[in-house]
Amino acid sequence: MGTENTMHYLFAAYTAIWVILAVYLFSIQTREKKLHEELQNLRQLLERQSAKR
């Protein structure tokens, strides 16, 4: 099995690993950011509601 023939498979495998992990971490980060904003909006809404009463 020639090294030069298989090196691109090795490169592809490790690239795939890092891409999968990066995409997953990015998806978590995006969801965290969205939820953080949603939580802030809800807290402000509740504060306004309690101030009206």
Binding site: M1, T6, Y9, A13, I20, L21, I28, L35, R53
Partner: protein, 229 residues
């Protein structure tokens, strides 16, 4: 644990993960000797196998958390179960992508319906279904209950994946760790990669768990806001 302790723990875990991954890469590429038959291609093993191990560990955590939910009826356990399932799917995606890349130059095919490969694909699809089905049950309590039952049934495939190469004839390499097929010089790199992936598993489940907890909090606040109208 209060907020500042959580942040400190996250920083320590993040630092350990970074160091662990750098060391794991160093060991996989430079620390481990070149395998005689497959050459450098065999270095896929150092990330492929720990990914499979951590995927199975995540599904075991999912099963344990599901059982705990059925016993305690506490939504925290359902959050942990969901987090573990999602992280397990990510690890098994790595296994199912790197496996064929490794198989092609060695077996001359990308995929074969051998017991290990088939059971791994089925396991991945089961947990993907677990996550998808959750979206179709609007009631949170019913969703958690159904998911817990589903998870306990799905885990049956995990031992099949693990023992498939022992129970049936398979193209997949035999259990090297038991038969002593792994060269002693390769063990330090392999163990380093397992340690790095274990830290990654804890880091990802923890982060996903806190995301789910925040989602539950948002649900609770939304209900309060609705009631106050």
């Amino acid at each position: 644990m209060d907020q500042s302790r959580h942040k400190l723990f996250d920083s320590v875990l993040g630092g350990l993960l970074l160091i662990g991954m750098v060391v794991a890469l160093y060991m996989a590429f430079l620390g481990a000797p070149r395998e005689q038959t497959m050459g450098d291609l065999q270095r896929i093993f150092y990330f492929h196998v720990p990914s499979g191990m951590m995927g199975l560990a995540a599904f075991i955590v999912n099963c344990y958390a599901s059982l705990m939910y059925l016993i305690k009826k506490d939504r925290k356990w359902d959050s942990l179960a969901l987090s573990a399932a999602e992280v397990g799917v990510v690890f098994f995606t790595i296994v199912l992508v790197t496996g064929p890349i490794w198989a092609k130059p060695v077996w001359f095919v990308w995929w074969t319906w051998s017991p290990r490969l088939t059971s791994s694909l089925v396991l991945w699809m089961l947990y993907l279904a677990y996550m998808l089905v959750r979206n179709y049950v609007p009631d949170p309590e019913r969703r958690a209950m159904m998911s817990a039952v589903f998870a306990i049934v799905a885990i049956v495939d995990a031992p099949i994946v693990f023992f498939s190469i022992r129970w049936w004839r398979d193209m997949h390499p035999s259990a090297m760790l038991e038969t002593g097929g792994l060269s002693p010089a390769m063990w330090p790199a392999f163990l380093t990669c397992i340690a790095a992936f274990l830290i990654l598993l804890i880091y990802l489940i923890r982060r996903r768990y806190f995301l789910e907890s925040a989602r539950l909090e948002a649900e609770r606040l939304a209900r309060l806001a609705d009631l106050a109208r």
